[in-house]
Symmetry: C2
Subunit: 147 residues, 2 copies
């Protein structure tokens, strides 16, 4: 009935999880796809998307919406943490600001929502983008893959 009721850790899925755990840079699904194809060349895009969804729904990965546009990003670091996102190049760094529990508790009392979690996204300019002249447009130029 519900998907992933008995998920198997098949070689394909293992490969996706391995890529994610080796990627501290919050890759998009298509970046994961590209990287997985180096170790599992025949894997299809649908399998990568399905596996990422499975990993998220089983708590082995986080799906992030970092406001840098269209595509979701994935994070194998499932401990609670926040994100610092560069507004120009989109680079995201893990941080943990330790938001006081009292702040979150206050929301529970004033809204009658049941709170399940939170994510603090801090926006800014990374050192690279501070240094280079601003174009007003996204510029991930300094993020070339370092081989």
């Amino acid at each position: 009935m519900s998907p992933y009721a008995h998920p198997r850790l098949t070689p394909r899925r293992r490969a996706v999880l391995d890529v994610l755990r080796a990627s501290p840079d919050h890759p998009t699904a298509s970046e994961v796809y590209d990287r997985v194809r180096e170790t599992a060349p025949g894997i299809g895009a649908a399998t990568v998307y399905r596996t990422l969804g499975m990993l998220v729904s089983t708590g082995q990965a986080l799906e992030l919406n970092l406001g840098d546009g269209v595509s979701a990003r994935y994070d194998a670091n499932v401990t609670r943490h926040d994100h610092l996102v560069c507004e120009r190049c989109g680079r995201a760094v893990d941080v943990d600001l330790g938001v006081p529990a009292a702040l979150v508790d206050a929301v529970t009392r004033t809204t009658s929502f049941t709170i399940t979690g939170y994510d603090l996204q801090v926006r800014g300019l990374c050192p690279h983008c501070q240094a280079s002249p601003g174009t007003g447009h996204p510029d991930p130029g300094h993020l070339e893959k370092e081989h």
Copy 2:
């Protein structure tokens, strides 16, 4: 050169802005489109998308990524505030938790990013969704337009 260097507040754009200011529910672009067509029937989707982009880049609206999937949401409330999002129905409520400035300042010192802002997204279940049995799937059923 840069777009919106001399943006005019044309009747079309005025209509989009009016709709947004009359919508406290963080509509998606296509929801804005539907609502605008009631007052400006001939308006095209491209104009709505362009206008929303213009409003965001001129600081008259905020674009939100509330993690409820694919589409961006827009908010005419441009004062600093946070969002409380229902994980099941996607409803988003404005809140302001007043994150201590000291927390954000700490990031500046430890990361060498220049901080320009932040958004705290609190996740939970709204009262409606707590009451109805969970399906594990998004269920905006109780969000029918109230005429």
